[in-house]
Assembly symmetry: C2
Homo-oligomer: 264 residues x 2
């Protein structure tokens, strides 16, 4: 009789555990910062509030995501900015739940790649502070004039991370942020970066270089790799792998860059 009771107890316990584990898994929209972020859908599909495709995860995973304080990132977009330079990192950061906004010299529309008309969210006169400032290539270094570099310098003590893609490195260099650091840039601008910033060690064989708080990447598509590295560094490698998987960046290899200082 005692044995029978133990067996019955075990059966009930296992059944109850299985049910709890099953109950815990649901389908959630990718974080969109709307109320629907908290809705657990029973079936896969599309969120009927924000239209994002639903992703399977446990309630605990979603709660952890929601409790994470988003990294804020100012994307400086100059007239003539190369479209993939900024769009790759924007895709990565958005999926990872970072809060991205755009800044330009003024709030007048700019033209990216000679094609895409963009209205910046802020000018350098009214842009809010952010955890990270990012610069991108396109239209030569002359876009990074004394006003823009003055703004960047004024944010140095209030900003934790500086990120550049392609020839965006010249903005960081002009502001002195690459002094005594290692950096990279667009492959056709490596020599120019060397000549321009004698206090910087310029490397040509890295997809990105992480000095700890100053991260530069090679040209154009390498911004995707730099952004995925930043997500891994600031939110954990799983978040970066999830983003790469979601965006079907199949050939991505984590840590495929020069990491001089891994700590956040």
């Amino acid at each position: 009789m005692k044995k029978l009771l133990i067996v019955l107890f075990l059966i009930v316990s296992v059944k109850s555990f299985s049910q709890n584990a099953a109950d815990d898994v649901a389908y959630y929209c990718a974080l969109c910062n709307n109320d629907c972020d908290k809705i657990a859908f029973e079936k896969p599909g599309v969120c009927n509030h924000c239209n994002m495709t639903l992703v399977k995860m446990s309630k605990a995973e979603r709660m952890k995501e929601l409790s994470w304080k988003p990294i804020t990132v100012a994307f400086y977009l100059q007239d003539g900015v190369e479209v993939l330079d900024f769009a790759g990192p924007m895709e990565v950061f958005a999926y990872a739940g970072f809060k991205v906004f755009t800044v330009s010299k003024t709030t007048s529309p700019i033209l990216s790649q000679g094609i895409l008309k963009i209205i910046p969210d802020y000018s350098i006169a009214n842009a809010p502070e952010s955890d990270m400032i990012a610069f991108f290539g396109g239209n030569g270094e002359r876009s990074f004039d004394s006003d823009v570099i003055g703004w960047l310098k004024s944010r140095e003590s209030k900003t934790k991370y500086f990120f550049s893609v392609c020839t965006g490195a010249f903005a960081l260099g002009k502001a002195g942020l690459l002094d005594n650091k290692t950096a990279t840039t667009f492959h056709l601008s490596i020599d120019n970066l060397k000549k321009s910033f004698s206090k910087t060690t310029v490397v040509s064989d890295a997809r990105f270089v992480d000095n700890g708080t100053v991260i530069t990447t090679a040209g154009i598509s390498a911004g995707i790799d730099g952004a995925l590295h930043l997500v891994a560094k600031l939110k954990g490698e799983k978040a970066a792998i999830d983003a790469a998987y979601y965006m079907e960046y199949d050939k991505w290899t984590p840590k495929q860059g020069l990491i001089l200082e891994a700590k956040p």
Copy 2:
């Protein structure tokens, strides 16, 4: 004496040939459709007219580029369009000299990825004809309403190529353009595409599928591969390799997709 004359003739000929070959090579800006496209610079650097980085090539190569009649491409951008879906192909096509313009339901600004404010060039009421029409994912299929699909259908006989990235495939499907064809889409929407379009063979293991004039790609970053394939198909493989090299898309493998009909 005769031997000496022959040797002298050969020396002069070789020198002259070398000079001609050397004279023929110069540095040109990436095609920007301005007058500077024809300027041959003596040294590498940046074009002082359009600010594009100069690329080394022969005069013959540049003349061939200039004589090529650009492919025109209408990028349909709905509110909520996924930023990398369209920005990858825009980067590729722009570098390859295709003429890209943007179209939306109206010319009111749209928001991409919840972040980027874009002013479309045209609405579906006034968009010019083009060699290619491209659709992208983001914001669910509901963006592709009867007005948009009506516009797409009205362009069917005047447009040579139809291209979709990610869930942009649903627009092509709704217009009947995927009937009796093979197609792919974003990995989380494969089942939905199968259910929605019973006359379409849907594959989940191809980065892109080329039916000849209808080309669909997998999700988000796969648009880059689809666009590079289209450049190879319509302008030659060298043009695609040049674009991939320029944008540092290092891991790209030409033809890594399902090519059912290779002919332009």
